[in-house]
Subunit: 343 residues, 2 copies
DNA sequence: TTGAAAGCGCTAACAC
DNA sequence: GTGTTAGCGCTTTCAA
């Protein structure tokens, strides 16, 4: 077959153990011997066989990533963050996006119990109890991305949805709007829930009422933004500002507004959440909450490695919130130029 | 450690060979025996150890995917296509995006020669000869996504850039525009080259001159679209239609046009290429070329499996072009409503 | 259809 | 610092 350790050992005139040592970091071997072996290995295109290596060492140099089906906008950014960090630590990344056809739980189980990976980064929108139990018992480290607030038996990295929502809503309140509506996300979605909490908290802080007529449930899609806006604005009692709990719905709102000749922000102010690329193209530019996506991935990996290396306790719960930022556009009523920033 | 084949063999009262057979597809084993073994395995949370398995069988059930750093818009779609198809064939997907800091060649080599994967899907924007040689000698199958037209020693799946460009340019020519400009992509980029070929061919076909003043080099970025448009339109001799060789540049064009009070399509018609999400938000909607992204990934994987299974020759070059589609918006002058389609 | 046994290529004690 | 050797957990002949 291909070159093995034996061949290299023979050519270098050493034992296979020594060849092995040449390829492992912390092993006592004479620098000259190592150099020689590595040279010969190079010449013979020799690479240690990963299967053999991990069979005897129990290490796989691989981490698993389970991603949900939907979050398109995040996907590439998250993976980028993960891959970059994994690469720094010389690890490979095994991905699995959890199709509808696929049983997510099964995939995770497979990942965790088959010994294919040393740890798992898990991102599932609706986290069931089943998972939590599994994770908290797992012998392999698992780090969640975007875990519900109320889950506290796990390690997770999250966007600070509450703070982000609070600050963007506070921003519009400071503009003087008093009838602030909200289009929330799908039921049971933790991001949506937290963003709603931030919204409510801001209203309360500024003594504004939480009007049920101004709360509409969307599902984070463009389409639902479109129709939710129409519903909100066709009531007798109309909001003067709307917080779309994600940018995608804000895009839908813009179209609906255009179609019904409603001016943003003159007739109604709009703010979003996520700072997706497309939202920068809107006229006026959308005021929204910036989310540090790739950081979410890289932080998760960094922590995962700490767990793998035993620097932190595998089962010590740990919730981490990444700070969001406010992106000011013209949609909230701020007097900025309509011209876009060239990015 | 965790459960091994021996334990299961004992509990089932059979030899380890039989347990092994229960887990492999084409092996002669009594259905009852298999059922029993699988049940016991399930009860004991037993999964065959992948390293051990591939050490003795030479199979890894894993394919490698090397992606370039940039193509964000494609990234998630491509991976989705790949993952879905790989999942159907019970394979895992090992990804590596080739950061600038990383030596792509090295990664590919690692993938191909370390025995970690059974085949590789490779997507690199600028393909050097070094690669081609490597691939055509490789013992492991390699499928390229988006390979230059002139490379014919490899297996590749590509967008039919020529046809796509031809048809969208033909479309504007049919509108009666005679002074058609083009903003091309970065030097040496094969997509850009082919799109330019399609453009030229259409002009020639309809006896329109290929005016050097109407050819500007961009680099596929928003920014370059912006500035290239300004350059084109500040000449004395202005084009009456512009083919932006990707949508991202068309987005930049729209902003530049807005800033300089140039009306699309009244003053100048614009068409793009790629059909990215953001382009659907433009007013008027951009006429562009739709690209079957996820199909690119899944077709590549399907073919890779054929190679892995020995159904096709590893080194028989094979170029595949996926058909593009025309997406008609208002930017070319077509009389469609400004209202967007709700998608 | 099943079992026995020889590896797959490497790592990690343990000796020297 | 280096060699010897016993596995790691599985697949796959070969026999029965």
């Amino acid at each position: 077959m291909s070159t093995t350790i034996i061949e290299i050992a023979q050519k270098a005139g050493v034992s296979i153990a020594t060849v092995s040592r040449a390829f492992t970091q912390n092993s006592s071997i004479h620098p000259d011997t190592r150099r020689k072996i590595l040279r010969i290995a190079e010449e013979n295109h020799y690479k240690p066989n990963p299967s053999a290596r991990s069979l005897s060492s129990k290490r796989t140099d691989t981490i698993g990533v389970v991603l949900p089906e939907l979050v398109d906008e995040f996907f590439s950014e998250i993976i980028r963050g993960i891959d970059e960090e994994a690469y720094k630590s010389q690890h490979y990344v095994l991905v699995a996006s959890s199709h509808s056809q696929r049983n997510v739980l099964e995939t995770v189980l497979e990942f965790m119990f088959s010994g294919r990976v040393e740890g798992v980064i898990l991102m599932v929108p609706q986290l069931q109890n089943e998972f939590i139990k599994l994770i908290s018992r797992s012998k392999r480290p698992v780090v969640l991305i975007d875990a519900p607030q109320n889950i506290n038996q796990v390690v997770s990295f999250n966007i600070n949805n509450f703070q982000g929502a609070y600050s963007v809503v506070e921003h519009i309140i400071n503009h003087g709007y008093k009838k602030v509506g909200i289009i929330i996300g799908p039921e049971g979605n933790c991001d949506s829930d937290e963003r709603f909490r931030g919204f409510s908290h801001a209203l309360k802080k500024y003594n504004l009422p939480l009007d049920q007529d101004f709360i509409i449930r969307g599902d984070f899609t463009y389409r639902s933004g479109y129709y939710s806006f129409i519903r909100l604005m066709s009531q007798n009692k109309k909001p003067d500002a709307i917080f779309a709990t994600n940018d995608m719905m804000a895009l839908g709102i813009y179209e609906a507004a255009r179609n019904s000749q409603i001016k943003i922000p003159q007739d109604v102010a709009i703010v979003g959440f996520d700072d997706i690329f497309s939202s920068r193209l809107l006229q006026p530019r959308l005021t929204t909450v910036h989310v540090p996506i790739s950081e979410l991935g890289s932080s998760a990996v960094r922590y995962l490695f700490k767990m793998i290396n035993g620097e932190v306790d595998l089962h010590k719960p740990c919730r981490n919130e990444l700070t969001t930022g406010l992106v000011i556009g013209g949609s909230c009523g701020c007097p900025i130029s309509n011209a876009q920033i060239i990015f």
